[in-house]
């Protein structure tokens, strides 16, 4: 039994599309509780099409099942039956079964569909005319020889069964090919009882396929052809073709870059050609990137089914609400988040939502709600899974952690409630009292966390006991292109992904050799009350073996020697009237819960890089997460913060616990720890913006600001950037316009603009107790007392909207 594989693959692909459509219809039926008249027809058509080709390809089981479903749907269509939950359930079960069969279509014939088929028949038999009950198909389950349907005479009655309102003559007219297969007696037989929609004794779907074109391409004329009308313009394209296209676009960008470097500015013709090449290339690359983006709704849609099944299994009432289905994500990420989301939703249903009785007792409605929402924020995609269940019990988690010896009593006592709740992500943790088949084996959250972090996302939990829990996932938009900081160590440049980067610190002159201190064998830096372990990139690269205490103290000794020398030289120079300039740059990186300072020689700036995986021969090196080609065509390695920290043997030097203690003390009265950039605008007011909203800060000279009409621009990296002043949008004192000012460039703007500020005060984590009443204006989040001064917290995004809605192209 050989089937042409191409045809089969096409059939499977097509049928899956039909099944997806079927599922969608069921979902909407489930949601609204109403059956639109057209939808039954749609269902019928889809199932009918699957059935048609199934026979042709020899898929007897699929044929049998679809036939039974089709008969039932037909009764519904005819109005002999009305849609009941039982019917929709069995039909959905059938749809699932079909989905399973298409997963391994070659084995589909060995799958047992008889039970389901019998139930379908039984339901169909409740139709008022019992004569129409079809005999059990098992009676003659002889497989139809496909590709040779000629001797099978079944076709005519089969088609008649499918569309009982048509006379056999019609059918024969429509499928003239069938006529020659049907013996005159048979036709006569059918003609004699044209009203009998009873399916052929043996559902041999092969028959219908006698005219292979007929089932799928020629829908029966009586059926409304609405779905045929809306021809959507889609084209199936192989992913590797797209990948190749993307790679070529990447190459084109590099060629363009080289061209730009060598363009003769004096030659105006050449220059304009280069300019158009430049813009076309950029647009081309963006467009190709977009082809990989898909709405997250495709992942969300499968969960409503899951939640329904779970709620039945757990005998709870659960409703799933999805928001932001249209948010688009890179295909790779979309594929990767399916599993973590499944885990989280299962958790929410099993552990979160209570039984209806419990809910009523707690004064909630008996139906639990799980909200799945996706949205853009700060250049990342956020996915929240929120339930209104019982929430997490801090004490239970506390107890379990101690029971499983995952943390000590002492460690726990230093943690805030939210920190303790986040401990459920530890490997081996589970609070469920018993292991159910739904969840509770204690691997869930750990798997979710590692799964999400693997592709550069992050997970955070919050929960209020009795009110429910929220799990927030933060995901990068795309895996292929990431913003990163380019740094240099020795001769080589390296890329540090922006997600790992917290801040950059530059120490000048005296500070360069006095501020870094030794703590045991390690170098540390005191950064705003926390001790930051330092990692020297140069040393990390030079030593292939993982750092032990010995290597660490060697490095530390060497460098403290060097520092001493620097100090002496500096002193000498100072005394003799010269001056030597030293500087020390380091980047504060975060990997998981570890923070460390990475000492580098030079900072080049930020660049959007295309991530290429490591070659298999060098894949095992923990220091790198990939490689990239920089603008000038040279390859740079992408540093992996986690691997780097592990290689350098970085341990938490104990600075962090202080922070969390503070957090604990303040978490109760509504304050939160936020990372802010504080600035002033000439006047006495102090302002703050969220650090995560700021992409970078540029020191500029005000003489470089140009005016066009009423708007101001400044050229940064060759891009004219709109200058927004605080006083444009808010009623605050205006700047005195000194020669040197600062320019804050926001994180997620599609159009270049920035906020002009006069003076930077500080940046760091501050306890913020937001007061929304004292100063109300658009573009302002509220005020808070920071460093004993009233500080206006500016919402950059709103402010830009306010100043020029047209210009700002951020979140939609």
């Amino acid at each position: 039994m050989e089937t042409d594989n191409d045809i089969l693959a096409e059939y499977v692909e097509e049928s899956r599309e039909h099944l997806t459509h079927v599922e969608q219809i069921f979902e909407s039926i489930q949601k609204t509780g109403e059956v639109e008249p057209g939808s039954i027809n749609d269902l019928f058509r889809a199932i009918h099409t699957i059935k048609g080709s199934a026979g042709f390809l020899g898929m007897t089981s699929i044929g049998m099942l679809t036939h039974a479903m089709e008969s039932l749907l037909d009764s519904l269509r005819e109005g002999r039956l009305s849609m009941t939950p039982a019917i929709s359930d069995i039909l959905m079960e059938g749809t699932d079964m079909l989905g399973d069969m298409f997963d391994d279509v070659n084995k589909s014939n060995s799958m047992d569909v008889s039970g389901l088929v019998a139930t379908l028949k039984e339901l169909n038999s409740t139709v008022d005319a019992p004569a129409q009950v079809a005999p059990a198909p098992q009676a003659t389950p002889e497989p139809a020889p496909q590709a040779a349907p000629a001797p099978q005479v079944a076709p005519a009655p089969q088609v008649a069964a499918a569309e009982p309102e048509r006379s056999v003559a019609d059918v024969l007219n429509q499928f003239p090919e069938l006529a020659q297969f049907a013996s005159p007696e048979q036709i006569a037989q059918v003609k004699a009882k044209p009203q009998a929609p009873a399916p052929a004794p043996a559902p041999k779907p092969a028959a219908v396929a006698a005219s292979p074109k007929a089932p799928s391409k020629a829908p029966s004329p009586e059926l409304p052809t609405s779905s045929q009308d809306k021809h959507e313009e889609f084209l199936r394209i192989k992913v590797d073709l797209l990948d190749r296209l993307m790679m070529l676009a990447g190459e084109l960008v590099l060629v363009r870059n080289q061209q730009l470097m060598h363009v003769d500015q004096a030659d105006s013709t050449f220059r304009s050609i280069t300019q158009s090449l430049d813009s076309v290339t950029t647009e081309l690359q963006e467009t190709i990137m977009r082809t990989r983006m898909q709405p997250i709704g495709t992942v969300f849609s499968r969960f409503s089914r899951m939640v329904r099944d779970l709620s039945r299994k757990l005998s709870k009432k659960i409703e799933l609400v999805t928001e932001g289905d249209e948010v688009e994500l890179d295909k790779n990420i979309l594929e990767a988040i399916g599993d973590p989301l499944t885990h989280l939703i299962r958790n929410a249903c099993d552990h979160g939502i209570e039984t209806p009785e419990e809910r009523l007792a707690a004064g909630k409605s008996d139906t639990g709600k799980v909200v799945l929402s996706a949205y853009h924020e700060s250049g990342q995609i956020h996915v929240d899974i929120k339930d209104d269940g019982k929430g997490m019990n801090r004490d239970v988690i506390h107890r379990k952690i101690l029971e499983k010896k995952l943390k000590t009593e002492d460690e726990l006592s230093r943690m805030s409630d939210q920190d303790i709740i986040n401990l459920v992500c530890l490997p081996g943790f589970s609070t469920a009292e018993k292991v159910t088949d739904v969840s509770g084996r204690g691997v869930g959250m750990d798997v979710v966390k590692t799964g999400v972090e693997k592709f550069g996302g992050s997970v955070s939990l919050s929960s209020i006991e009795g009110e429910g829990s929220t799990i927030k996932l933060r995901l990068p938009l795309t895996l292929a292109i990431i913003p990163s900081l380019i740094v240099q160590s020795g001769e080589e440049r390296f890329a540090i992904p922006q997600v790992n980067l917290e801040e950059l610190v530059c120490l000048y002159d005296k500070d360069a050799f006095t501020r870094v201190e030794c703590a045991g064998a390690r170098e540390v830096f005191r950064l705003r009350d926390t001790l930051l372990p330092m990692v020297r990139l140069r040393e990390a690269l030079a030593r292939e073996r993982m750092f032990d205490e010995e290597a660490l103290s060697e490095v530390t000794d060497q460098n403290s020697e060097a520092r001493k020398e620097m100090g002496e030289k500096y002193k000498e120079a100072e005394e003799s009237g010269h001056s030597i300039h030293y500087s020390l740059n380091f980047a504060v990186l975060r990997s998981g819960n570890l923070r460390f300072g990475l000492i580098i020689d030079r900072i080049h700036g930020s660049e959007e890089i295309v991530v290429k995986p490591m070659h298999r021969a060098v894949k095992g090196i923990p220091l790198y997460s990939g490689a990239t080609v920089l603008g000038d065509g040279k390859v740079a390695m992408i540093l992996d913060a986690t691997g780097l920290a592990r290689h350098y043997n970085v341990r938490d030097v104990g600075g962090g616990s202080k922070d969390s203690k503070k957090q604990k003390a303040t978490a109760e009265d509504g304050t939160e720890l936020r990372s802010l950039l504080l600035f002033s605008n000439g006047g006495s007011e102090q302002f703050g913006v969220s650090m995560q909203d700021v992409k970078r800060v540029e020191a500029i000279e005000t003489s470089a600001i140009e005016r066009v009409g009423s708007q101001e621009y400044i050229t940064l990296d060759g891009v004219s950037t709109r200058v927004v002043r605080l006083e444009d949008g808010l009623r605050v004192q205006s700047s005195s316009q000194p020669e040197n000012m600062f320019f804050l460039i926001p994180q997620n703007a599609r159009k270049p603009y920035g906020l002009l500020v006069e003076k930077l005060i500080d940046s760091g984590h501050y306890e913020v107790k937001l007061n929304k009443e004292s100063y109300q204006a658009e573009g302002v989040e509220g005020t808070a007392l920071i460093k004993k001064r009233m500080t206006v917290l500016v919402n950059l995004e709103q402010l830009m909207h306010l100043v020029d809605g047209m210009w700002y192209g951020g979140n939609t």
Binding site: E251, A617, V618, G633, V635
Partner: protein, 173 residues
């Protein structure tokens, strides 16, 4: 399995070899495996990589790994930067993930009769000193030795160059 492949390859009649020089020895690889010869010398070193990996180069937007066979074979070491100044023979994607080998000088394309390539595994005692030396260094990379008019051509199997190296990483798993 790979031995079978090799022997089969050896039994076919003639084979065109792309030849190149390294440490004064003449080497050749099947020309069908070669994609191009590139003069890109802008190699980015990969710290912590095995010693015989030079680093990465960018060839028209594609990142290629560059292997230094001198190191693999344990030939007299020149200064590392000097080794980097040579040409790179880049292999086709069908051979392995994108990679090339650093050579001193690219020579002619030579047609070799298969029968003249002596499989070093067969008659070890008869082979030259050079071949013995190579055998010690890396098994599998050298398919055999072919005597040309003036000197010996060492025939390499490009598919085994990194295959051997990946043993390291698979061991660590």
């Amino acid at each position: 399995m790979s031995n079978v492949e090799d022997t089969e390859a050896l039994q076919n009649s003639t084979m065109q070899m792309c030849t190149f020089r390294m440490a004064n020895r003449l080497f050749g690889v099947n020309i069908l495996d070669v994609k191009e010869v590139n003069e890109n010398t802008n190699v980015t070193p990969i710290y912590h990589a095995p010693a015989d990996i030079c680093g990465y180069i960018n060839i028209r937007g594609q990142i290629h790994l560059v292997v230094n066979l001198r190191e693999t074979f344990g030939f007299d070491q020149r200064h590392k930067t000097e080794a980097v100044s040579g040409k790179v023979v880049v292999f086709k994607p069908s051979v392995d993930e994108p990679f090339g080998i650093m050579v001193d000088e690219v020579c002619d394309v030579v047609s070799v009769e298969q029968s003249r390539i002596v499989d070093r595994r067969a008659g070890e005692s008869n082979t030259s000193d050079a071949a013995k030396e190579l055998r010690r260094a890396k098994d599998g990379i050298v398919m055999g030795v072919c005597p040309l008019d003036k000197e010996l051509l060492l025939v390499l199997n490009a598919r085994h160059i990194l295959g051997k190296q990946s043993v390291k990483s698979s061991e660590s798993k």
